[in-house]
């Protein structure tokens, strides 16, 4: 841990020597890394020369500083000594930083300094975002023997007073770490050398922050509040660092070290990012534990190093000595598939030459199904369902029928229709959003709604209208509006006013504009940053929580919690999530998940051959859909059972019609709960008509098997090779669907893949195309329901004797349980899951299982994980 050197020692050391030592050098322990999440400006003075101090935050555009009086400063080894009044100023306004902080309403100002004396006052500006001595956004300064921060907010004057001051006697002329944090609810803290030295309240919005202010160090912009001493490091964050974060930065010392990765680390990284996906795509299809073509298993490091029938294939450190490389280089592998690209070959060779690190236990091909690009952050347009729910929650208008009629349906992509990259916009969306906005406002009591936010009915006074718009906008657009937005919406009011309109009309048009605005139609988040993931702002998090858990916007309680910066910390978040999961909207959202996952919408459009299935009709289809919804609700909500029970729970819900279809004795009118006997062959979702119809009229083993493989086992198979006839032969006397499947499995070319999934459907063979149980097919062939399951990644299949045993086997499978986690997580995030998510998902799954493996435990684990708490960022293009 970095500690300040004792004063006696300091006194005996030359200042230059002290600086060379730096705080970090005191300890022999590995130096902690600095916190980078939320970093928006960073100066480490490593230039050591010249008049420009580079912003090394990595956030574009960088805000470099210029030393305007170079004669006043002296470069030292690890800092800039300010010997006389200097002006160190950003060439441009700090607009990016101000905007970021206004968005988050929280910030941190941090500096490592060595004050020249404890007598400086003014306060002497250390870091300042200000215009002149009396007008500022924020200033960290020294006021004699205390540090002092003036921050402009609603509760302060333009000068940022009252300020937040440290206790007295903390300023000493030696290397000191100072950090100031401000949360969105106005709580301020000052830390000196990692310990809290002051606290206060600077409440109210930072909306009045002026984006035209420039950033200055060691003086006021106007040059009349100098700080003398040495600057070692200065940083600004657009979030309040936690006390632990401050401690970490203090421990990291005054010299920011980011050592480059070692060759071994680079090699391990290359495996994760390039080689594992390469093996998953090109090799594991044949060289996994089950197939082991040539006796080679390339899914595990130990197995790969052991080699195959041809002996050792991989010689770490030497591609030239590796048979694996030789076969790939000469395009002999992959067999019957396209050769590796030059780039892939190059990566493979470099990885082997670099030591062939294998930092993971096993390569699971499914996590590489999508490239990491699929995990890119796409702004999330509200789905039709979310739009309806958002309108209802925001303004109390039920617009479902009109919205579904006008808005184009959201198309499924990667199994769900809330997949962000596929939520495009067409002209029809724009037209519909415009029409719907008008309809919604028509149905509102506009004056009553407006009165929720202000008693004023003043049409065009600067401040009242602005405040009115700001409050209304915060509710409708799920977070604070900035000045630009307030201006824009107030402009509508003045336009209405200048056309002779009244307050109600102005509010009406403002509402219409807000209902069509990007912040209503999309879930806007800040993606700009250093390129590293960052914690969401409180309001961003509030929206994520509500749309994930409810499929709708945050309620007042959630927004207020965000405003008070209370959506942080495990306990607080868990409490908030627990509250939200008790809300009926959470149930509705979960039903959306199951409908999407199992694609229940298709039931309304199924048209089985009426000659073969005369009992099929629209109401039976609707019953099947409702059966699944009720079953899901029973397991997940009424009984709070583990999600795995969805696979084998011996219970269902059916109307008399559906019960009869299933061969059950109808128990009464409407939907009734049925305990399923063993001889029904039914257990859980897979035996629902809603799922079994996936196989089509012929109860396709391929379709059903692929569903189980993909949706329950997260298995992968490649597409059939070109020119393969994929039309299955018809069944006939003596040849059942299973018989046809077994022929395919036995085929050398087809079997590699079909062996992975068709046996999964053997246990469902007794269910016909629309889910009725039968013992013989239409040709009189007896049907079976025994088979084997080959779990992905495993070498040996596991046998089962009946459909019920199959369901039990699946439900008990860790693979199936993790698959359910992945499915729910994918729906929650609205994007395909990628390799970069795998580690976090493993943690999510573990935590959820430890808490019972229920839907609520899983959702809690998901929303508390970095998958939801953080977002990827990009630097400027």
């Amino acid at each position: 841990m970095v500690k300040r050197l004792p004063g006696a020692v300091i006194g005996s050391l030359l200042p230059g020597l002290l600086l060379c030592i730096t705080a970090a050098a005191v300890s022999s322990e590995p130096q902690p890394q600095r916190v980078r999440d939320g970093l928006v400006a960073f100066y480490d003075f490593s230039e050591a020369d010249g008049t420009v101090i580079r912003d090394r935050s990595g956030v574009e555009p960088s805000l470099d500083l210029v030393i305007e009086r170079p004669e006043s400063v002296r470069w030292l080894g690890t800092g800039l000594q300010v010997e006389a009044s200097a002006v160190i100023l950003s060439a441009e306004p700090a607009e990016r930083i101000v905007d970021a902080i206004k968005r988050s309403q929280g910030l941190t100002i941090e500096a490592w300094v060595t004050p020249a004396s404890g007598e400086q006052s003014g306060p002497a500006r250390i870091v300042s975002l200000s215009k002149n001595p009396s007008e500022r956004n924020v200033t960290l300064g020294q006021d004699r023997d205390a540090y002092d921060v003036r921050l402009r907010a609603e509760s302060t004057d333009r000068n940022g007073n009252p300020s937040t001051a440290s206790r007295r006697n903390v300023v000493v002329p030696q290397l000191t770490h100072v950090a100031f944090t401000r949360t969105a609810d106005g709580t301020t803290q000052l830390f000196v050398d990692g310990e809290q030295a002051g606290a206060g309240q600077t409440t109210g919005s930072l909306a009045s922050w002026d984006a035209s202010h420039r950033l200055s160090l060691a003086n006021e912009v106007t040059g009349d509040r100098p700080f003398l001493g040495t600057l070692h490091l200065a940083a600004i964050y657009d979030r309040p660092l936690s006390p632990e974060d401050v401690q970490q930065n203090f421990a990291a010392g005054s010299v920011a070290l980011n050592p480059p990765p070692t060759p071994a680390q680079r090699n391990a990284l290359a495996f994760r990012e390039q080689i594992a996906p390469l093996f998953a795509r090109h090799c594991i299809e044949c060289h996994d534990p089950a197939i082991r073509k040539g006796g080679l298993d390339l899914s595990r490091g130990t197995a790969a190093l052991q080699g195959g029938d041809s002996g050792v294939l991989l010689t770490p450190g030497s591609a030239a000595a590796s048979l694996l490389w030789e076969r790939v280089a000469h395009d002999e592998m992959p067999e019957d598939r396209a050769p590796l690209s030059p780039g892939e070959k190059s990566a493979l060779r470099e990885w082997i030459d670099g030591g062939a690190a294998w930092p993971t236990d096993v390569i699971d091909p499914v996590i590489y199904r999508h490239s990491n690009r699929a995990g890119e952050v796409w702004v999330q347009r509200l789905t039709v369902a979310e739009y309806i729910a958002t309108v209802k929650a925001a303004v109390g208008v039920e617009i479902a029928a009109e919205a579904r009629e006008r808005l184009p349906a959201d198309l499924r992509a990667d199994g769900f229709s809330n997949t962000a990259y596929n939520l495009g916009v067409d002209l029809k969306h724009v037209e519909a959003l415009s029409q719907l906005a008008e309809m919604i406002v028509d149905r509102m009591d506009v004056l009553a709604f407006a009165a929720r936010f202000s008693k004023s009915q003043s049409l065009s006074t600067d401040d009242t209208m602005r405040q009115h718009v700001a409050k209304m906008g915060m509710w409708l657009l799920r977070g604070p509006l900035d000045d630009r937005e307030i201006n824009a919406y107030c402009g509508i009011a003045t336009t209405v006013s200048s056309a002779g309109g009244d307050f109600e009309q102005a509010m009406r048009f403002i509402l219409e504009a807000m209902l069509q605005s990007p912040r209503f139609v999309y879930r806007i988040e800040n993606h700009r940053g250093s390129g590293e993931p960052r914690h969401l702002s409180q309001f961003e998090l509030a929206s994520r929580l509500s749309y994930i858990l409810w499929g709708g916007p945050p309620d007042e309680q959630l927004l207020e919690a965000a405003e008070r910066n209370e959506l942080r910390g495990q306990a607080a978040l868990e409490a908030e999530v627990a509250r939200m999961l008790k809300d009926p909207r959470a149930v509705e959202r979960s039903l959306q998940f199951v409908e999407e996952w199992l694609h229940l919408d298709r039931l309304a459009h199924l048209q089985p051959d009426a000659r073969r299935f005369p009992q099929w009709n629209a109401s039976l289809a609707a019953d099947m859909r409702e059966e699944t919804r009720r079953f899901f609700k029973e397991i997940v909500w009424s009984d709070s059972r583990p999600l795995a029970d969805l696979i084998n729970a011996p219970v269902t819900f059916a109307t008399p019609q559906l019960a009869a279809h299933y061969g059950l004795v109808p128990a009464g009118e409407g939907f009734q709960r049925y305990q399923l006997p063993v001889d029904s062959g039914r257990r859980g979702l897979l035996s629902h008509g809603s799922v079994l119809t996936i196989g089509g009229d012929d109860a396709s083993m391929v379709s059903r098997g692929l569903f189980v493989l993909h949706d329950l086992l997260r298995g992968t198979v490649n597409a059939p090779p070109p020119c393969v006839n994929t039309t299955p032969p018809p069944t006939k006397a003596g040849l059942t669907q299973r018989g046809i499947a077994e022929v395919r499995i036995a085929n050398q070319q087809c079997g590699v893949c079909h062996a992975r999934f068709e046996p999964l459907a053997f246990g469902l063979e007794k269910f016909d195309g629309i889910g009725a149980l039968q013992s013989h097919d239409e040709h009189g062939n007896p049907l079976r329901d025994d088979g084997v399951v080959l779990f992905p990644g495993e070498a040996e299949p596991v046998a089962y004797g009946s459909s019920v045993e199959l369901m039990n086997l699946l439900a008990a499978s860790e693979r199936v349980q993790t698959s359910l986690t992945w499915k729910v997580a994918q729906f929650a995030l609205g994007r395909p899951l990628v390799a970069a998510d795998a580690e976090t998902l493993n943690d999510v799954h573990r935590v959820a299982q430890e808490n019972g493996g229920t839907y609520t435990s899983l959702m809690t684990a998901i929303v508390l994980s970095d998958l939801v708490q953080k977002t990827a960022t990009e630097t400027a293009e």
Partner: protein, 480 residues
């Protein structure tokens, strides 16, 4: 620095007539505009017209005394056609609690204090005249009242709208973009029955404008979104523009109308008035847009598409931070740099502050330059009505025949003496077909209400502005 407005070919009535294939300039232009026969028959006489021209912030009374040798210099070429009235006061318009910029602006052309924040205290001169002379409405197809302007302060209506109905409501929707004004004048032919729909349509369009601005922000340089998300929102923006084209496209323009002007590049709507903090603008940007607006407005008058209305060059209490070299008559008058010269940003760096600083004992260099510029631009508009293109059947120009009242909001900008502030408010009027004196700078020393009522009476208007029980003291010195 050469203004874009100067280099751009002005929109002319003659050009428009050539477009129609006419050989001579038909005056008035009603036939060509395909108006009704009734309108054509009425056209043999010079039509009665009345327009209010407003400029923001005013000219301090002491500077008015310098006549054309001072900041009024740009009016000098039109001096023979104008009556400059000094000593007109609107003290009665002072409303406690509302700043005098607004009181004075509301009083301009109405002589009444504002009624709240979105209404004037009564009718404006142009509307009084309109009601008197066209009690049954204007000829069908004509724009009954045209309100336009280039301005950037929007918080209260009277800051920038200057045509009001007797109940104080605005007489027509403000057209603040040249293109909007063009469409209002030369686009669809308005009839009495569709006025409400047209107004609604315009407001709805302003909603879409605000929506477009929001989407534009999220696709712009300061967007918080990443590249892929930005691309998605850009697609959305493109679809909105497509929708805008289809929903609000100009349905057609009257035959021979000039080309649709390019979209404005200046800020409009709420963005043009960021909370009263002011905007940065160059002299070129300001004058280019204003002059296009002025030309289109003048064309609307010379082609007899409108006879009443108001035009605003900068709002009352306008807040801009102007930069650019200002030249007049071949000489450099001043180099504008409000923020730099004031060493302030935000509202403190705006030209408005020069008015607060006015001191007749000092040079007031910056204020003078701004006031001079305002006069140049007002003169630019007035001169468009005094060209061969603007001749009426009586052989005189529209500037001679119409009642054009030029005014502003205050006779002082210091906010420390309401009486002084609302006294000596600059006024200039045209001769209105020989009804009023011209070619003089007259110290009227009268209440604005009496001056306005004198104008109305002289124009043949029977109704009077102001309280009914107030004795009317005509300002006879202005009558020809």
């Amino acid at each position: 620095m050469k203004s874009r407005a100067v280099s751009r070919r002005p929109v002319s009535r003659r050009t428009m007539l050539r477009g129609l294939g006419t050989v001579t300039i038909g005056l008035p232009f009603l036939e060509e505009m395909q108006l009704s026969r009734a309108a054509a028959a009425e056209a043999v006489a010079v039509p009665v017209r009345a327009f209010n021209v407003f400029f923001g912030l005013g000219i301090p009374a002491p500077l008015q005394q310098e006549g054309f040798a001072g900041v009024l210099e740009p009016l000098a070429p039109l001096g023979e056609k104008l009556l400059v009235m000094r000593g007109v006061d609107h003290v009665r318009a002072d409303e406690k609690g509302i700043n005098a910029h607004y009181d004075g602006a509301a009083a301009a052309f109405t002589a009444a204090p504002p009624e709240g924040e979105a209404k004037a205290g009564g009718a404006s001169i142009d509307q009084m005249v309109r009601r008197q002379w066209y009690p049954g409405g204007l000829p069908p197809g004509m724009v009954p009242t045209l309100v336009g302007g280039t301005f950037f302060r929007r918080s209260r209506v009277c800051r920038y709208v200057h045509s009001f109905n007797p109940d104080g409501t605005v007489a027509a929707t403000m057209q603040e973009k040249p293109r909007d004004l063009f469409e209002r004048v030369f686009g669809t032919v308005a009839t009495a029955g569709d006025a409400a729909d047209e107004s609604e349509q315009r407001l709805r369009r302003s909603v879409l404008d605000a929506v477009v601005d929001e989407y534009r922000f999220f696709t712009g340089a300061n967007s918080p979104l990443g590249a892929t998300s930005k691309a998605r929102v850009s697609e959305h923006l493109e679809r909105i523009r497509e929708y805008e084209q289809r929903a609000f496209a100009l349905k057609g323009k009257v035959p021979g109308a000039p080309e649709v002007p390019a979209s404005s590049r200046l800020l409009h709507g709420g963005a043009a008035d960021p909370g009263g903090e002011g905007i940065d603008i160059t002299l070129d940007e300001l004058t280019a847009e204003w002059r296009l607006m002025a030309e289109l407005y003048a064309l609307a008058i010379t082609t007899d598409r409108t006879r009443f209305g108001s035009l605003t060059f900068l709002a009352a209490g306008e807040r801009i931070r102007l930069t650019g070299d200002y030249t007049y008559a071949g000489r450099t008058v001043f180099a504008f740099d409000d923020a730099g010269q004031r060493k302030r940003s935000g509202s403190g760096g705006c030209s408005h502050e020069w008015w607060h600083d006015f001191d007749e004992k000092k040079s007031n260099e910056q204020l003078r330059a701004h006031a001079h510029l305002k006069m140049r631009e007002v003169a630019y508009f007035l001169s468009l009505l005094d060209t061969p293109d603007a001749l009426d059947p009586n052989g005189k120009t529209i500037l001679d025949n119409a009642l054009i009242t030029v005014s502003t909001e205050s006779g002082d900008g210091r906010h420390n003496d309401v009486k002084r502030e609302l006294s000596g408010v600059f006024h200039a009027i045209t001769g209105a077909g020989g009804r009023f004196k011209t070619g003089q700078l007259l110290d009227v020393q009268a209440e604005g209400l009496d001056v306005y009522n004198t104008m109305l009476a002289t124009m043949g208007v029977t109704q009077r502005l102001g309280p009914g029980n107030r004795p009317f003291t005509p300002a006879e010195s202005i009558i020809a």
